[in-house]
């Protein structure tokens, strides 16, 4: 128990580190107009997803029983009929992430988002929505407004994407929470590298973590992908619980976020829609 508690603490500490990373200020803009243009053009598809996260922890996790918390994150509308893409980790998927880190013991934690609502524009009440699918592997989740309005929603078309090069400047736009009037903010970074494992990903050189689950654009405003968190696939990770500590050393890369190419996101979205229809 004590050992596990220690690991849980380390995970929480890492999450805190990640949150602090999110506070790192973006570099100064070379061009004021560029930022203003991003805010004007890229804010409208952004929405706030509110939900109650119901977390169940088993005995090995301290036996805390049910815990519920009221949470909100930023998502992006990707369909004119009210489909929102967001970070699966932020939508309760951290439980799966913990499971990857903690092996079988992590299986005792489950997190289910309930009472999901989508707030479009400056709406403060929100409209009812449902989580229709999630892809833990890619760190994507899809939320659909239950009764969409007749007027199409402003959205990002992930099918119209471009590829990026190492060293290229990239931008993301996210919304702050209700305590800051959900104001939109631009984050700027560069493509610092690429990796092909566990899948093809761009690695940003600067922290774009506040935009987790949101599109990343080139300087010209073309979408290149979506910010996600990535952990090693479960099969690749040693069953040895002590290996956890080795994994922690790689957490900085994982928590800093990766850019999942738009092509992969688009394909996953099509699968998600098919899965949702299939259900």
């Amino acid at each position: 128990m004590g050992h596990l508690g220690g690991r849980a603490t380390m995970f929480v500490a890492a999450m805190c580190w990640w949150s602090l990373g999110a506070l790192v200020p973006v570099s100064a803009a070379d061009d004021k107009d560029e930022f203003a243009r991003f805010l004007r053009d890229k804010e409208p598809p952004l929405v706030t997803v509110k939900f109650v996260l119901k977390v169940k922890m088993g005995g090995a996790m301290g036996g805390m029983g049910d815990q519920e918390s009221d949470t909100e994150i930023t998502g992006v509308m990707i369909d004119p009929k009210g489909v929102v893409l967001c970070s699966n980790t932020q939508l309760g998927g951290f439980a799966a992430m913990m499971k990857k880190f903690m092996g079988r013991m992590g299986g005792e934690i489950t997190a289910t988002p309930t009472d999901v609502k989508v707030l479009v524009g400056d709406d403060v009440d929100g409209v009812e929505a449902e989580l229709i699918a999630r892809d833990t592997e890619l760190d994507l989740a899809w939320v659909r407004i239950k009764t969409p309005r007749t007027e199409p929603y402003a959205h990002v078309d992930l099918g119209e994407a471009v590829k990026a090069s190492i060293g290229e400047r990239v931008f993301a736009v996210h919304r702050m929470d209700k305590y800051f009037a959900r104001s939109a903010v631009v984050a700027e970074g560069r493509i610092g590298g690429k990796t092909s494992k566990p899948r093809d990903l761009y690695v940003p050189a600067a922290a774009l973590a506040p935009a987790m689950g949101l599109p990343v654009y080139t300087a010209e405003g073309q979408v290149i992908g979506v910010m996600v968190m990535q952990a090693p696939d479960e099969e690749d990770v040693d069953a040895d619980s002590m290996a956890m500590f080795g994994r922690m050393s790689n957490m900085q890369e994982m928590m800093g976020g990766f850019i999942l190419p738009a092509e992969t996101v688009d394909k996953a979205t099509r699968r998600a829609m098919e899965s949702a229809e299939g259900d």
Binding site: V52, L53, K54, K56, G58, G63, G65, D66, Q67, E68, S69, D70, A96, G107, T110, T112, P113, T114, D115, L131, I132, A133, R134, D135, T136, E137, A141, P198, R199, P232, D233, E234, E235, D236, D238, A268, R271, A272, E274, S275, G278, D279
Partner: protein, 732 residues
């Protein structure tokens, strides 16, 4: 004047002991002597006079043993072990728990005397008798102010309902003296019946803090306890689980109820005097409560005041009987009904409070008091002493715990009135917490949709009416007070149902388990070039099982692309590459079998639903969560398709399912007459059972390779329960 003990010679100490203690002390001295004699004897020759001593000691040892046995056997058969299923209310919800304690049968009708803190918040009681029979019991009454409660055994459950129950007889605890030998009986740490021996260390212990000699012990913010009695302190070992068990003298009389111990003070146990317990038990049996007078004042010893006589009025309750009679805080009471009263020490307060409480309700008490230099007389007409803390209940679908407001709670919180329901706690993420403004602990709810909420019972009725309606209202308008300000908020009631977990996006999959054949393994196997993935299992009931794939084959290429794992960090490579393909497409696997390469075409199927994604059901009557069987469950447990049911994924601690012996990972095959095939069957069965509300439901489960019949007895009663909660003290 008595000499300090240190000045007495041993003989004088001996003579100062009560007769019974003197005899026992003699016995013990000889027993000790006898115990040491053989060791001495081995080293030296036995003198004739030493031999006589040994014989005498042996005799005394036998006498002592006989005395203890006789005393023990007069009470031990009446000792019961009590298991309690509790319902606690906190964090805006109710939670069940289990506790154990001890008790004593005090009547042939089956009344069991125990501590209030053993019985408090109890929903169900099971008593294990001396002959190991387990019998249900019901709460007759409880008295938190003395920490006593009475249960009644369900005699019809006895193996022989006509049997004569063993009963412990009360002795006179007023006769106890320091140094008397006593036995503590009970079930420490829930172990079965035990007896420990010790002596009385103090007969008038009070547990007031040194810095506040008028302080009161409390179970929680609202509930006082132990204000009417001094404790019998003794050194017979007692531990958690001894609570409520009898303290017995060497005559075999029940002279105290073991109630408290201390972790830090060594051998210190505290028992409620038998005389107090006997009177309280009689009231509880007759009235289900202890009727007491209330004067509305608190008293303080004068030890530190500089006064020479009387007792200080420490505080006066606004609007209470003492204030109505003209008394004020700071007055010094000199006489009560003509009898002089002086309270020097904290030990003298409880008897005086008890004396006042024992006046018949509505009596007139003549109090002579001094205010500055004037001596005056007040005639106080006593009122009924009411409950400290009100009943409480959890309103699950709204997300808060509500408590009835007693007069004392209203006074402590400076509330103007006792109508309404106090919000004790709010569950995070609940409708009450999501409301704007959110409800908070300390708020007092006064109306819902304009209909007044006066008391908890009315709120429960209203809650049931709203939540049982065919259609839930979108919002409920709550009017509540917070720190004297009247607020409004909208609560959106939420159906008490859990949602199914979200599904993962389906991807392509081949039904095999594989392990990477890395370079070193390949070299060791004599095939250094044959890197790939060795099939360790072909899952039955998959397209792979219908293909030519076999365990032991090594997959070296997928659609012509070589698979070359560099180490265990690439263990997921094969399935990851498959997941990038499309469901229903075909893939070609190049495999090595017995050194020969061959190609196997296989159609890709959907990834199967994992246990985490399976449909589930949380039944709050039985406190059990179950889910559908998944492909992986069948594979892991080697279950054929003809095994059907639902898997228990969790049972709540001390919930009815757990108490009925249902365990996580059990496969529920049948409940009563309902065969359970999947979650749909289960929901249908549980709906019918919930409507029927049977005394018990029979769960037939598969556990390992065996079936088990588990009898689950849910509680169908409403959720309101009596008040009280732990204060974190160590209570034995």
């Amino acid at each position: 004047m008595r000499k300090p003990a240190a000045m007495y010679r041993p003989a004088e100490v001996y003579r100062s002991m009560p007769h019974s203690s003197r005899s026992l002390r003699s016995l013990m001295i000889f027993v000790l002597a006898a115990a040491s004699a053989p060791a001495v004897g081995r080293a030296q020759q036995i003198r004739p006079e030493a031999s006589a001593d040994v014989e005498k000691a042996n005799q005394l040892r036998q006498d002592l043993r006989a005395m203890i046995s006789l005393a023990r056997d007069r009470v031990f058969p009446a000792l019961v072990n009590i298991k309690v299923i509790t319902v606690e209310y906190f964090d805006g919800k109710e939670e069940k728990g289990q506790s154990v304690g001890s008790g004593t049968i005090i009547s042939r009708e089956g009344h069991v005397l125990t501590n209030y803190h053993v019985a408090r918040k109890g929903r169900k009681f099971k008593c294990t008798l001396a002959d190991k029979q387990e019998v249900s019991a019901a709460l007759v009454g409880e008295d938190p102010l003395t920490d006593l409660a009475v249960l009644k055994l369900e005699l019809s459950e006895l193996k022989d309902p006509g049997m004569e129950l063993p009963v412990a007889e009360f002795g006179d605890s007023g006769e106890l003296q320091i140094g008397d030998t006593v036995m503590a009986m009970g079930s420490p740490w829930a172990l079965s019946r035990s007896v420990t021996l010790g002596i009385v260390s103090n007969t008038e212990r009070v547990l007031a803090a040194e810095e506040d000699d008028a302080g009161e012990m409390r179970f929680d913010r609202d509930q006082r306890t132990g204000i009417f009695n001094r404790w019998i302190q003794h050194d017979a070992a007692i531990n958690p689980g001894n609570s409520g068990g009898p303290l017995v003298n060497l005559k075999g009389e029940f002279i105290g109820v073991n109630t408290r111990g201390t972790f830090f003070g060594g051998d210190m146990g505290f028992a409620i005097p038998g005389n107090v317990a006997r009177a309280v038990a009689a009231d509880l049996v007759e009235h289900r409560e202890v009727p007491r007078s209330w004067l509305g004042l608190s008293l303080k010893p004068i030890k530190k005041s500089g006064l020479k006589e009387g007792v200080l009025v420490n505080s006066i309750v606004e609007g209470g009987p003492a204030e109505a009679a003209g008394l004020k805080a700071g007055d010094v009471i000199l006489q009560i009904d003509g009898a002089a009263v002086t309270v020097w020490f904290p030990e003298e307060v409880p008897p005086l409070l008890k004396r006042l409480a024992d006046y018949p309700i509505g009596s007139t008490v003549e109090v002579t008091y001094q205010r500055q230099s004037d001596t005056q007389v007040a005639r106080i007409v006593t009122d009924r002493l009411k409950k400290d803390r009100g009943d409480e209940a959890a309103f699950r679908s709204w997300g808060f715990v509500g408590v009835d407001i007693t007069e004392q709670m209203a006074r402590d919180r400076r509330l103007e009135r006792t109508d309404g329901v106090l919000v004790d706690s709010v569950r995070s993420g609940s409708p009450a917490q999501l409301a704007e403004p959110a409800l908070a602990s300390g708020d007092v709810l006064h109306s819902i949709d304009g209909v007044p909420v006066d008391h908890l019972a009315g709120l429960i009725e209203r809650y049931d009416g709203i939540m049982d309606a065919e259609e839930l209202p979108e919002y409920l308008l709550f009017e509540f007070d917070r720190l004297g300000k009247s607020h409004l908020t909208l609560i959106k009631p939420k159906p008490d149902k859990d949602e199914d977990p979200p599904r993962e996006v389906a991807k392509a999959w081949i039904g095999v388990a594989v392990q990477p054949v890395v370079q070193k393994l390949a070299e060791h196997l004599g095939r250094p070039d044959e890197l790939g993935f060795r099939i360790t299992r072909v899952y039955p009931r998959t397209l792979a099982a219908d293909s030519d794939l076999k365990v032991g084959d090594t997959i070296v290429k997928l659609d012509g692309e070589p698979l070359r794992p560099r180490g265990m960090q690439d263990a997921g490579m094969f399935h990851r590459k498959v997941r990038k393909l499309e469901i229903d497409d075909s893939a070609t696997l190049t495999i090595l079998r017995a050194g020969a390469e061959r190609e196997v075409a296989i159609k890709l199927e959907r990834t199967r639903i994992t246990p985490e994604e399976a449909r589930r059901d949380h039944n709050r009557d039985f406190e059990i969560i179950v889910r559908d069987i998944t492909f992986f469950d069948r594979d892991e447990r080697r279950w054929d398709d003809d095994i059907r049911g639902v898997i228990v994924s969790d049972v709540e601690r001390a919930g009815w399912a757990q108490l009925g012996g249902v365990r996580p990972d059990d496969l529920i095959l049948r409940i009563d007459e309902f065969e359970i095939g999947d979650i749909g069957d289960y929901r249908t069965a549980m709906e019918t059972i919930t409507q029927r509300k049977p005394e018990r439901a029979v769960f037939v489960v598969l556990r390992g390779a065996s079936t088990h019949f588990q009898y689950v007895e849910p509680d169908w009663s409403p959720s309101a329960a009596g008040a009280g909660s732990s204060d974190g003290n160590h209570e034995e």
